[in-house]
Amino acid sequence: MHEYSLVQALMQRVAQEARARGASSVRRLSVRIGSLAGVEPELFASAYSLFREGTLCSDAELVIDQVEARWVCPQCGRSPAPGEILHCASCGVPARLAAGDEIMLDRIEMEVPDV
């Protein structure tokens, strides 16, 4: 259940950004989670609903953008199909992960009085 400690790290970062801008509350958080990040989006969301209480985020919506894993051959650019061997049959080189390991905070929408 490392989702709890991830959400804790997220909340600290959000609080820091909000304080720096004198925000009165946070309206929406956008995060990006890859399918190979080792994070369960549902657990992440339930951890968030617990941790946001009594914080600037108490009414903030959490938007999770889930990113599918994508491997590519660094030489020919071909992607192996899901479940296929991660070694390019034609170029003979290991595939590289192009997307899918993200655990990112993308955007915070906050209410700032007197901007």
């Binding site: 490392h2 190979l36 080792g38 655990i103 929408e109």
Partner: protein, 236 residues
């Protein structure tokens, strides 16, 4: 929104962050990594399920390298410091990190544990992570290499079920090979599963009990030590 104090409507401000949620852990891990590199210590993050044989592999490694290489270990466990005790009994200076309920070690826990531990004179610092095939893979500790212990008793499809940990591994130790004759498990099937989640699969079958296969593991460790040593020499 505010109609009484005259402050006007709060403005909605979008702040673009685009940063890793674990950026703080990544910074501490980079700091640990820098320390290890400076002193030429090979830090090994050893991960695997509970009971996969992580401690047994380290005990066997200690026996094989006794008097030749300086080993040290940090063992993470939810409760008890039994693993650290076993390692000390095998001749490895070891300190326990009791995580309580945390299912993984993070870079800060490792950093704190090393404050009171003579790590800087070691050839190898083994970090035996909490037994778990998911969470430890998410946290960088500052290690030079990630090794996963997978026991033959866990079956053939573990890599496919837990791709995240195997994807990031530099090496998989297939442990408890002495039990293979008693199981319907084929090493080729495990190799095939690994090739579908790990772009450069490297699998060493070992038995900590009989010592079979340990030579390849020790040779691999030695190559890491030489590489780290060269890097230190280049800095000097």
């Amino acid at each position: 929104m505010c109609e009484t104090c005259g402050c006007g409507d709060p403005g909605l401000v979008p702040v673009e962050v685009h940063d890793r949620i674990l950026a703080g852990n990544d910074r501490t891990a980079a700091h640990n990594r820098e320390h290890f590199a400076e002193r030429g210590v090979v830090a090994v993050n050893l991960m695997g399920s509970p009971g996969s044989g992580k401690t047994a592999v380290l005990e066997a490694t200690a026996r094989a390298l006794a008097g030749r290489r300086r080993l040290g270990a940090v063992a993470g466990d939810l409760e008890t410091d039994r693993d650290a005790e076993r390692l000390r009994a095998a001749g490895i200076p070891a300190v326990a990190i009791t995580t309580g309920s945390a299912c993984h070690l993070d870079a800060e826990m490792l950093h704190r544990a090393l404050h009171d531990f003579p790590w800087a004179e070691l050839d190898y610092l083994f970090v035996e992570n909490v037994g778990n095939l998911v969470c430890p893979a998410v946290y960088d500790l500052g290690q030079a290499v990630s090794v996963v212990a997978l026991s033959v008793t866990e079956g053939e499809d573990k890599p496919l079920k837990y791709p995240v940990m195997f994807r990031k591994a530099d090496l998989v130790l297939l442990t408890k090979m002495d039990l293979l004759p008693h199981l319907d498990v084929r090493v080729e099937a495990i190799e095939d599963a690994l090739a579908r989640v790990m772009p450069e699969p490297r699998l060493f079958p070992v038995s900590a009990r009989s010592g079979d296969g340990l030579a390849a593991w020790l040779e691999w460790l030695e190559a890491r030590r030489i590489a780290v040593g060269h890097a230190v020499a280049r800095r000097a």
